[in-house]
Symmetry: C2
Subunit: 202 residues, 2 copies
C-alpha cells in the first residue's frame, strides 16, 4: 500500500490527497508535524528515507520514497489524463508548477500559516507586506491566464491546476482577496466540480 | 532560430545557456532587465507573449513561448541524456527542481542580488538572516545527498544538477560558505568538467 507522510492542514499535502481522490487511488496516511525542526517524527529516521526531509513524502509500494508535492503529482499522474503526453504541454505543466513553487506557494502559504495556523509566528510588518505584494502578483498572473483559459494547460484539469488549487482556494485565510478575481473564482468552482473532488478537511 | 530572453547576471537564465552549450544548441539571445517592474522591455508586449512575465523565457522556432527555467530545461532535455526515461527517475528530477525553486533559489539568489548585484536593495537584518538560515539548510540537504551520490538523479548529470548548479556555484557572493561542504565542492568540479561546460560570464 502507498503511504503518504501527510498533515491535515498542509496545502502541499492536500494536493496529493486531491489527486489520489480524483484517481480513486487507495493509500494510507501518516500525519507528521507540519513544519519541521529536526526532532521528533521529522528527525533523522525520516531524513534517512528522504534527502529532502519535507512533507508530503510518499513511500511507494516497492519501498522507495519521493518528496516534494510536484514530484509526487508527476509520478502518479504519469499515464493518466492529469499529465498530458505532448512535449510542449508537459513543459507547460512544469512551467506552472515552477511558478507555484517559486512565486505562489512561498507567499500564500507563509501568509496563511501566520494568520491561520501558527499564532506564535510574529513576522515583521515588512515581511507580511512582502508576502502580500508578491502573493497578489502571483494571483494576478493566474487571473490573467484564466481570463482566456478554463485550465492552466490544455482544456482539462492537469496536475498544474492541482498544484495551484489549494493555496488559491485558501487565499482569503491570508491577506488576499478573491473578490476582484472573477476568472480565478470560476476556475476554483470548476475544480470543485470535478468527479472525485475532496476538500482539504474531507 | 530559438530566441532566449536572457540576462547575463541571472542565475536562472544561466541554467538555460549551460544546457544549450552542453547540447551544442544554437540560439539567439536578447537581454532584458533582470528584475522587473512592468515597464520597458518587461512590460505589456513581453507579458502578451508569456503569461508569467519572467526571464528566462524562450521563443521556440514555431513562435510559441515558454517561461520558467525548469520548464525550458525540461523541454530541451527531453530525448537527451539530461532527462532520464525512467518514470521514478523523472519524478526525482521534478523533486530536485521543486526543491531548487522553493528552498534553494529564493534564498541564495535573493542574498546574492542584495550583496553583489543591486546595491540599492536595503533588506532588513531579519530578512538577511532568514535568507542565510534557509539557504544554508538547502545547502546542507544538497551536501548530505552528494556525500553518497555523484549527481542528483542517477549516475550522470541531468537537468536537476543544471538547475541547482548556478546559485550553488555563486553561493559565496552571498552570505554562504562552501568551505564546510566538500561533497558539494567536488560536485561543482564535476559540473565544470562536463564537455561543453560554460561559465556564467562566458
Amino acid at each position: 500500500m502507498i503511504l503518504l507522510y501527510d498533515h491535515p492542514l498542509s496545502g502541499n499535502c492536500y494536493k496529493i490527497r486531491l489527486l489520489f481522490s480524483l484517481l480513486g487511488l487507495e493509500y494510507e496516511s501518516k500525519s507528521l508535524a507540519v513544519t519541521g525542526d529536526r526532532d521528533g517524527d521529522r528527525g533523522e529516521a525520516f531524513r534517512a528515507k528522504t534527502a529532502i526531509g519535507k512533507i508530503p513524502t510518499v513511500r511507494l509500494q516497492d519501498g522507495r520514497h519521493l518528496s516534494e508535492s510536484g514530484a509526487i503529482l508527476w509520478y502518479f499522474a504519469e499515464g493518466t489524463p492529469y499529465l498530458p503526453d505532448d512535449r510542449f504541454a508537459r513543459a507547460q505543466v512544469v512551467q506552472w508548477m515552477s511558478f507555484e513553487q517559486n512565486n505562489h506557494e512561498p507567499n500564500l502559504a507563509a501568509a496563511r500559516q501566520w494568520m491561520s495556523i501558527d499564532p506564535d509566528l510574529h513576522p515583521s510588518a515588512e515581511q507580511i507586506e512582502s508576502w502580500r505584494l508578491a502573493g497578489s502578483r502571483a494571483l494576478d498572473v493566474m487571473e490573467r491566464h484564466l481570463s482566456a483559459h478554463d485550465f492552466f494547460v490544455g482544456d482539462r484539469c492537469s496536475i498544474a491546476d492541482i498544484a495551484l488549487y489549494p493555496h488559491t482556494e485558501m487565499a482569503e485565510t491570508g491577506p488576499f482577496e478573491l473578490g476582484p478575481l472573477p476568472a480565478t473564482r470560476a476556475w476554483l468552482q470548476r475544480m470543485r466540480s470535478l468527479p472525485g473532488y475532496v476538500s482539504i478537511d474531507a
